[in-house]
Subunit: 372 residues, 2 copies
Amino acid sequence: MPILQPLSERLLLGPGPSNAHASVLEAMSRPLVGHLDPEFISLLERLKEGLRTLFGTSNAMTLPLSATGSAGMEAALVNLLERGDRIVVGVNGVFGGRMAEVARRAGAEVTTVEADWGHTLDASEMAEAIERVRPRVVSFVHAETSTGVCQPVEEIARAAREADAMVVLDCVTSLAGRPVELDAWGIDAAYSGSQKCLSCPPGLSPVSFSDRAIDFVGKRETSVQSWFLDLSLLANYYGGAQRVYHHTAPITATYGLAAGVDLVLEEGLEARYARHEAASKRLLEGLDALGFEPLVAESNRLPMLNALRLPERVHSIGEAPVRARLLDEFGIEVGAGLGPLAGEIWRVGLMGENARPETVDRLLEALRKILD
Amino acid sequence: MPILQPLSERLLLGPGPSNAHASVLEAMSRPLVGHLDPEFISLLERLKEGLRTLFGTSNAMTLPLSATGSAGMEAALVNLLERGDRIVVGVNGVFGGRMAEVARRAGAEVTTVEADWGHTLDASEMAEAIERVRPRVVSFVHAETSTGVCQPVEEIARAAREADAMVVLDCVTSLAGRPVELDAWGIDAAYSGSQKCLSCPPGLSPVSFSDRAIDFVGKRETSVQSWFLDLSLLANYYGGAQRVYHHTAPITATYGLAAGVDLVLEEGLEARYARHEAASKRLLEGLDALGFEPLVAESNRLPMLNALRLPERVHSIGEAPVRARLLDEFGIEVGAGLGPLAGEIWRVGLMGENARPETVDRLLEALRKILD
């Protein structure tokens, strides 16, 4: 039996990947050029510029890292931390917890500031910890994919910079679906993923580093522990006149991301953000009638990742069996809860191309049939 | 101007990427399913089995790592080394040197055994160093992409295992183009790249770890320094009944690799190896008439990566200008020399789909026109 078998059509309304736009898939079927080909270098330059627009930054070091968002997280932390450095990490979900774990493995002294899952971090608690610890790095998550919480950024970032700490922000789920303003917010390192609101397949992590971050990496006393993620080495391929070979860039995935960013820029960021808001509103209204309740307070809800407490009707059938029926009978994937929210919530993603009324209506109709 | 612009058709005869087969590109244009979708998990299981055939192993932990071959190298080394562990690394080109650097950054005590670029490692020198150092890990390169040398594996691997060391082998350029027999050779960790003889786009690194290696990782005293590459965490997604989310696997790239491995298995490994040998022979004969001379002794030449000393005629025009004319006028990419061989050699890749007489003839004809 061949490895590659026909696969079912899926409507991907989980926490990512989302469905890729046809033009992204078409781009990925184009023939390859080499990673040092002048045409590919030009493509990378245009892509870097497009990513700067999405991130709200003029950072020179803005590029598509050759791995998934988790590698983007690791790149941000291992470049900015030396063994023994202190870091304050905000933890209100899976991805804040992952940041803390990555930092520990980089040999950092980690102080966490916790908040209940489904709630935002308390900015004054973060500021107090920053003042007390005087860390090298402060890191937290803009859009917590495990809970659907959108974290206000500016107050924490200001407290960090006043303490001369560098600020790392997880934008995996927010980029291109909700405003991200790295320069206005004072962020030193941010990372995202191709498979969320950019509607590209998973595999690349757009990242951006401030000049201050680059300066720090240049002055480190020790080598970055990861050769693959070392920013100084990456800089010699992604920037500069010489374009020194580091690793072989994923050509085809880069074509796809280029097509995805083109779609975002054609639509316009404001229109895209509004489309995500409208789709989320329609979803929450429809699900309210079925007894689903939002986990997160209205002011801090992410539109592209809707965390919903399940109605009794779903619990009585069993939440996993209902998800399995959605997938098997209707071809719709939604996400389960993680950690303390496992079995308690679903995570319904309306990301990028899927943030549209017809998508929402398809899910609502399927749920009505199953739950009636 | 859109980021994605039309790109020229290229014949990729450098050190990789090679051209992807049409069926691989078609596979990559298919709609996405989720990374936890039962259909995707089944695809992964079939792909793991296919990769085992290519690697010549029954290792359960054989999988497509979600990043390029350099990340595969890092995964092999950071999982098998704890800080302070000793490693013996054979260095006879760029990639042996990279292994040593990755190991240093993992906090290992590194002993290198060097050989001149273009030559194989001396097995008795390796054995002597292994006996003296008593390392945790011995690592070297099967197919040195920077020089075109094929390293005999068995004698060094035997010496390593007699000293109770684990053996790491770089198979980036050899896999699916030349016999790789991990189990027969006694290899504990090996990695490759999708963009060489597998004729898929760059972005995935097939890796394989022996049970002995997995046991070691399970008994480590310290955490693996990379969260993204931690084998214990990867094992919970790529194996086992639960399929615990770790990172979001690159769905589309996995489709492409599945199609690529299907092509290899349809052709048969022996036929594929023979095709690589025949293409290399045809190339070397044709280039001999133009004054190019193989860098590597006949018994240790890689057929998929031909390192060639340049004739006076090329030097008189300039080797970089000749490569630029090949690219601009004929759409053919060949690779430059690296390190001490920069300006001295070219590296002509005949990998996967490109290891065919018509490909060789197209290069020879173009060179005749330029050099006449």
